[in-house]
Subunit: 230 residues, 2 copies
């Protein structure tokens, strides 16, 4: 208990023996607790994490373009995956929060966990340099990087269909609004997508024209089969 608890957690969970334990106590202290809190460390850790993940993705996906790499990174370093990693390592038990924050749930609790994980990575960087941070990031994020989907599958259906056609020198699909139903504030759009060169067409429905178009493109892609995802 007390100030040695975070230190033990860092040793057991991150495999690092703090040279400066106070850094890690700050990293695990939310601003609501008062005193030295983790927001500056979070700024630093966020930047270090984004950089290391960028480099790992750059190496792991040599054929991915800049947009793919950005989308893949967002899957790894946004609030939700960070909070999951923090929760999987029982970070909650060593987080120092104000009384009110202890009861918060959902989105807010996720943010607090995600921010504290970034702050811990910032503390680790200050304590051990990039050489100390890199293996920890590798360990925490490696399995998630290995499990990432093919970059192409992160693109929306319209983009994928367009690229499929363009790469074969075929004419682009045509989207037509077939119907708009419902009141002004709750409209439903029905759109068709015709890919004439493929002799395929599909229909989509949605609360906006854009969503309906995506659905129609997805319907055409589904007829093309799994090959388009790769």
């Amino acid at each position: 208990m007390g100030p040695t608890q975070p230190e033990r957690w860092v040793r057991e969970r991150l495999g690092h023996s703090p040279r400066d334990p106070a850094l890690f106590v700050s990293a695990l202290t939310h601003r609501s607790a008062g005193g030295a809190h983790n927001e500056r460390l979070e700024f630093l850790g966020d930047a270090a994490l984004n950089f290391l993940i960028a480099h790992q993705l750059y190496r792991a996906f040599p054929a991915a373009d800049e947009g793919d790499l950005s989308r893949l990174r967002a899957r790894l370093v946004s609030r939700e995956p960070l909070a999951e990693i923090a929760a999987a390592h029982d970070m909650r038990a060593v987080l120092h929060l104000g009384a009110g924050e202890l009861k918060s749930g959902g989105f807010r609790r996720q943010s607090i966990l995600a921010d504290a994980l970034e702050a811990l990575l910032g503390a680790l960087y200050l304590d051990a340099g990039l050489a100390g941070l890199e293996p920890v990031v590798e360990r925490l994020f490696g399995p998630r990087i290995a499990a990432l989907p093919e970059p192409a599958s992160l693109k929306d259906a319209k983009t994928r269909l367009q690229e499929y056609l363009q790469s074969r020198g075929l004419a682009l699909p045509r989207y037509t609004v077939l119907a708009i139903a419902g009141e002004d504030h709750a409209q439903r759009f029905t759109v068709s997508c015709e890919a004439a060169p493929l002799r395929l067409s599909g229909r989509g429905e949605g609360s906006s024209r854009r969503r309906a178009e995506q659905g129609a493109a997805a319907a055409v892609l589904a007829q093309l089969g799994a090959g388009v995802d790769g």
Copy 2:
């Protein structure tokens, strides 16, 4: 001329002798030129630059909070300052662009220069590691970091006035809309700001309520004098 020109530029301008010159040729090639272009390197360089600048600001401004640090960083690594640095080093002369892009000006040219500078930093990182990149970033950005304003002055007027009052335990200012004039698409708002505990008030005008409030807060701050900026 030819492929050795970028290499000479990197040597003279960045003080680095490329181990893999092809990396730097790619970094200086816009996608409009065809072939191996700089977008993946830009993704990597952007991340590396954001990280190094974050660390430098973290050290240089020990009293700045996370918001201050983010605002300061934006001043250094956004399109405009990056394009200025690229232009100051005659990067235009070694950039490889498609015919159409050569004529572009303004915003578009700025983006191309800024992106290529980031790509160069990415290439430098791959070629020489963080140890090779760090001194170059230091040299390119150091003078700009030294010239940064005090973090507090980057905050908007309403925030500064609020913090001034809060730090003295005084009541917050009151904003009142005095008038809304003009047609729907071109409204003008007039707002007053009363800081009762200071016996000060000010007026602001603008195309939105928010802008008018900022003007009114600035008018009160002006009466308080320069001390609030520091």
